[in-house]
Amino acid sequence: MTDLLQPHAIGQDLVRRDGELKVRGTATYAYETPVEHPAYAHPVQATIARGRVTAMDTAAAEALDGVLAVLTPFNAERLADASDAEYAVLQGQDVGFRGQLIGVVVAETSELAREVADGIAVRYDEQPHDAELSADRPDLYAPEQVNAGHETDTAEGDVAAAMAAAEVTLERTYSTAMYHNNPLEPHATTALWEPAGDGFLTLWDSTQGVHPDRAAVCQVFGLDQEQVRVVCPYVGGGFGSKGLPHANVMLTALAARALPGRPVKLALTRQQMFVLAGYRTPTIQRMQLAADSRGRLSAIAIDVVEQTSKVKEFAEQTGVPTRMMYASPSRRSTHRLAALDVPIPSWMRAPGECPGMFGPEVAMDELAEELDIDPIELRVRNEPEVDPETGKPWSSRNLVRCLREGAERFGWSGPRAHRDGDWLVGTGVASSVYPTMRQATSTANLRYEDGRYVAEIGAADLGTGAWTILPQITADALGVDVADVDVRIGDTRYPVASVAGGSSGTNTWGSALVVAAREFRTKFGADPRDGDEASGDVDQAAQDDTHSPYAFGAQFVEARVNADTGEIRVPRLLGVFGVGRVVNPRTARSQLIGGMTMGLSMALHETSAWDPRIGQVANHDLAEYHITVNADVGEIEAHWIDEHDPYVNVMGSKGIGEIGIVGTAAAVVNAVHSATGVRVRDLPVTLDKLLPGLP
């Protein structure tokens, strides 16, 4: 247990410090770095889904005026470490998925680089590919573990026996679509190798973590950390896709190495982002629930099938939330993967929890309907005293409070469905959850400089508000006005910081800043001199592992479905969350409504239409891959309860970047069902799935 920081600056509704730059457009993103005489790179991509590049005709391209370099698997330098097949760009001739990087052209202008890259003739030895996920493939396998180090399978009690003995059982299969992160800023890098010496590389890269980015680049190129600097003050969104570097970063560094002293810029096109920047795997979730007539669960099980790439394994931990969400004596979760000739899946906002709270939360709604119990009451009846997975007490668990307060605010009581002219109206609810994490490594440096406190930490702000809230935390740790504190982030010249991922940034970096501030006060007292300096490491902050730390929430949706056309509108979305202490209500609210809106988008608008015949996303642009636009949203409200959690960290804060997207899609499906009587079990909910069942 920790004595929480006394909040003064924490909790204040402060305007973003980077706001003025952003509304003018003068915040500098990676591609925009002002550099002398840049060259422009454009990738060459494989046009087959599987096989081998046998020849590339680059002679004409190389002879063109303005072309500076053409790199292919046949002439590119050998990388120091090619063990990560995603990063081993141009190291071999094998093609593992359509669109894989097989070359790069660097030229004086972006137009020329693109023209030349598109014109290079490539000969292949093409082989048949296998790119279709299904739950009955004979070659499904169990990975060694799933993302974030979770166990692949878990089992407790006897689900089959409980299913056989139960008064009520439910067995259903749910599926979620393939989704692409699609941050508005395409993945982009400006790279510069110093022209002389033993090699110094600067990367201005769009990344959720300059330090993890640098570590990966050093590994691949065989460089020491001191030889590489990564800079990224602003990130145009990431949602997980910039959490780990992708092949484009290595390709840009490789291209720049061919032109020492010349900065090289490479931004992926929107189409390339559907191939090279990671995505959320489609999931197939078989759910089993067993309950007594009062709705008390005796079994809960989820068996997940999803895909990975033969090139590199990524196993989304979709079954994980089922392990801890509700009380039940018998429980099972499994993950099976199909390894396909497809691009490499990766992190997308709330990997695991986001898809993994779809099946279970729709299943709970179906069970409530079966039992004729209010869906909120059903959840309340299955509230676990302790974490069912670990047996540990919760650091704080306020799901029921969120459900009750949400019901009150939303106006849940009374009939859930009615007809309003041509519109069928219904309401739905679902629970949210996200683990509260703190990473093991982060260090902050704090210096007194010209009468101000200056903290440095290599953290990232992808729109989350880190530029604004880290000074709030530092100010309270020092006991000074927030206006007297500067925090500098986004550069490996500042001390090591963990990735902005797993909703752990504030928890981790804030903890390090507090340790640094306390160390500073211990060393120098209340009246420091110019240049006084101290540092703090998150490792030194007490880590409580006796409690199970999670944030919980409840999402409420009103859906309207046109009885004639099946058109679906969501005029109201309301969430109540228990996320510990909120550092800045303004930026927190934006993150929560942003997550909820992305959940609405997942429910109704987004799907990557995969064509297994050619191994490609057919709708690979923003006209056809629909994301929710302004006219698609109605009222969206995010609230949080007053929650005191002394076990998570010294700020008492839980992560808020991801929980907003968790459960939203299930709440939409449940509302659409209450409006229409049609239960859609495969996302997204589109009118073609509703029309046959409308009254």
């Binding site: 003068t26 422009y40 409504i593 006219a631 698609d632 949203v633």
Partner: protein
């Protein structure tokens, strides 16, 4: 093939040579170093590259620079002198109408265009009475701002920001 053109950007005239394939967006970003308009899709699908082109909001990724010789362009950076903010920019700050900021200059320019379109009485797809002046309702604003995608999804803050700026005019 190259062509020499003149662009007046944020009040300053520039003489520059462009490839005839160069989009207005790339001319601004890669030739003139004005990176206020952003490239999100390069296909006119996201709105991040929106500027005011001869007074109207326009997608610079869908315009060829060579076709706009002599054009007057205002980017989000040119809406107000350094150190000051345009009412739309102030409203975006007040409403926290952005997170990552990448779509924001396009949203801001689009909003300035929208307010001007209201002023001129232009109807939209959701305007019911085509004979009167459209009211600046949230439905009207949301409809008119829907060409500007925001993946951080600040929409419910963007709409009131535009209305606030509209009321302040």
């Amino acid at each position: 093939m190259d062509a020499e053109i003149t662009l007046r950007v944020d009040g300053e005239a520039h003489r520059l040579t462009v490839d005839t394939r160069t989009s207005l967006l790339d001319a601004l970003r890669e030739r003139l170093g004005n990176t206020s308009p952003k490239k999100g899709c390069d296909h006119g699908q996201c709105g991040a590259c929106t500027v005011l082109l001869d007074g109207d909001r326009a997608l610079t990724c869908l315009a060829l620079a060579v076709a706009h010789d002599g054009a007057e362009i205002t980017t989000a950076d040119g809406l107000a002198p350094a150190g000051e903010l345009h009412p739309v920019q102030q409203a975006f700050l007040d409403s926290d109408a952005f997170q990552c900021g990448y779509c924001t200059p396009g949203q801001v320019c689009s909003a300035v265009g929208v307010l001007d379109e209201f002023e001129r009485g232009w109807p939209s797809h959701v305007t019911e009475d085509l004979t009167g002046r459209p009211e600046m309702t949230s439905d009207e604003v949301a409809e008119r701002m829907s060409g500007n995608l925001c993946r951080c999804a600040a929409y419910v803050n963007i709409t009131p920001a535009v209305q606030q700026a509209g009321g302040a005019r």
